[in-house]
């Protein structure tokens, strides 16, 4: 569990850390969207390369990074294998019993894997290099037009940022309860699937109870400090769009154009 890094923030100083959060979010969304639009190997590998490059640019340790997301990589790989075996069409390369590996299946499987791996890497880099405050500010920025529709944008983003803030806390609570139940003889990796799921009740029940208590305490603390609702708040931290952000955004233009032309 301590290896889990999704949703955590690693403070630091690097090219990626210093980019404006709005810029980073747009870039991540662009990578994911463009990756879904194309089926060309060249583009798929190019996008994967860009997202891998961003790990280096963020000065994150590669080994640490992949240990942190290996669970998700494994899940994507498993889904890709299923795709590989069960999508039919084209030339049959290999068959064993009812299982059949076809050219079509191979293609969908590999493309699926590349797409989701790229999206996962890009998203993780974004979350690792952007502080929760910057993330919620970014969401507030993009959602702010909806204020016209009387949507409580500030409240929504505050709730979101609190949720993000509590991901590491929840993980810590989870592992401490897990340790306590292990000490009382709970074994989590033995028996049937149903039995294993049942064994998690002694962990999940106190975890939820704890979270509710924590939420109540937090609400009380906020009221004590004079928080009413989010409207007309001023910000201590103002987002700062720099020249380099404009350059990164501009670099996307030829990529988008080329992709649509070669389609």
């Amino acid at each position: 569990m301590p290896d889990f890094i999704f949703g955590q923030f690693m403070p630091g100083k690097s090219f990626i850390h210093d980019l404006d959060a709005r810029n980073k979010l747009i870039s991540v969304l662009l990578i994911v969207a463009l990756d879904l639009l194309t089926t060309s190997w060249l583009w798929l590998f190019l996008f994967l390369l860009i997202s891998l490059l961003s790990i280096r640019l963020a000065r994150l340790n590669l080994n640490f990074f992949f240990r942190g997301i290996r669970f998700f990589v494994f899940m994507i790989f498993l889904t890709a294998v299923l795709q590989l075996l069960f999508s039919r069409g084209g030339q049959v390369i290999f068959s064993w019993g009812f299982l059949q590996l076809t050219q079509m299946g191979l293609q969908t499987g590999v493309i699926f894997f590349l797409r989701f791996l790229t999206a996962l890497v890009a998203m993780t880099v974004f979350l690792l290099t952007t502080s929760p405050i910057a993330i919620s500010d970014t969401l507030a920025f993009f959602l702010s037009p909806l204020k016209i529709l009387k949507l409580p944008v500030d409240d929504i983003t505050l709730t979101l940022s609190i949720a993000l803030r509590f991901v590491p806390t929840m993980i810590a609570t989870f592992s401490s309860i897990l340790d306590a139940q292990k000490s009382r003889g709970a074994v989590f990796n033995r028996g049937s699937l149903l039995h294993r799921m049942k064994m998690y009740i002694p962990v999940m029940a106190p975890l939820f109870l704890n979270s509710v208590k924590r939420a109540e305490d937090l609400a009380a603390a906020m009221i004590m400090r004079g928080y009413t609702d989010g409207r007309q708040r001023t910000r201590f931290r103002v987002m700062h769009w720099r020249l380099v952000d404009t350059i990164v955004m501009a670099a996307w233009l030829p990529i988008i154009l080329l992709l649509f032309i070669t389609r």
Partner: protein
């Protein structure tokens, strides 16, 4: 069961940029049936050390020997499950682990996991709760509805019901009212003396350490600074001065008394009884005793 640490090192997330060494070359031996207090500031590695004894953490290098079982970095998860049968671990704020619909079921969870049938597990649970002086009318209540003190007792019963031979306690009395805290400490002492349990207790309560422990382990920044009996440990004024060690109330009082009266050539007291004789001797030797009555 004896507990032995042989040159134990432990690093957290050893292969990441966050890598941090939490235990540094820790070696000690705790005799079978002893009561040891584990002292040290917050973050000195007390909880990490405790987690090694029931295999929640494995040493990065070195060995932990519990009874006749050796735990090293290569020990399998299955062997650790056997180890946990003999080692009970009361976590800090253990009431957060309560989960079952009733107190009885929650306490029976441990013994059931370690192979008891449901009726006999509940039998043990009742016996344990009774021993702790738990209000037995609350047996079929949800643990969530209990008061903080009763919740702590229920959680403690959940650990003791597994009938361990070693008991690891992580600040067992933190946040308890003074009378319950005292009762719980006396119970631990009784378990050591009557059932021959080996107890290791991490604590910030120097008074409890002085009163109940046979010996003290003192940690600082992942290192074991000193292992000694309480009466010797609390003489270490140098460690107190460096803020590595705190003192029981009576000892602090005696030091301040000595500073005012200039009476220093005696061993510092660590209990009220010792304080009384300390003062008697000090006052009888001092010719101007009337002026130095102890209100330091």
């Amino acid at each position: 069961m004896a507990i032995v640490f042989k040159e134990v090192n432990y690093s957290y997330q050893s292969k990441t940029p966050n890598a941090f060494q939490l235990l540094k070359n820790v070696s000690f031996r705790l005799a079978d049936g002893s009561f040891t207090a584990l002292l040290g500031q917050t973050g000195s590695g007390k909880t990490t050390l405790l987690k090694h004894i029931n295999g929640l953490l494995k040493p990065s290098s070195g060995q932990v020997i519990v009874g006749d079982q050796i735990i090293s970095s290569k020990t399998s998860e299955k062997d650790l499950a056997d180890l946990r049968k003999n080692v009970g671990f009361l976590f800090q704020f253990p009431e957060t682990q309560l989960f079952a619909p009733t107190v009885l079921q929650d306490v029976a969870f441990g013994p059931e996991n370690f192979g008891q049938t449901k009726p006999s597990a509940e039998q043990i649970a009742k016996k344990t709760l009774e021993m702790l002086g738990f209000d037995m009318t609350l047996l079929n209540q949800s643990p969530i509805n209990l008061s903080g003190g009763q919740q702590r007792l229920a959680a403690l019963a959940g650990v003791l019901a597994t009938e361990p031979q070693i008991l690891l306690l992580d600040e067992p009395t933190a946040g308890l009212d003074p009378s319950t805290a005292k009762r719980v400490m006396i119970l631990f002492k009784k378990l050591q003396q009557e059932k021959h349990l080996t107890i290791l207790m991490a604590t910030h309560d120097m008074d409890a350490a002085a009163e109940f422990a046979d010996q003290i382990l003192l940690m600082q920044q992942g290192k074991l600074v000193k292992q000694a009996a309480p009466k010797d440990m609390f003489q270490e004024k140098e460690l107190v001065f460096q803020k590595i060690l705190a003192l029981p109330k009576v000892t602090t009082f005696a030091i301040r008394f000595a500073a005012k009266t200039g009476y220093t050539n005696q061993k510092l007291p660590i209990s009220e009884k010792e304080l009384i004789s300390f003062l008697q001797r000090a006052l009888s030797q001092d010719p101007s005793g009337k002026e130095t009555t102890p209100h330091a």
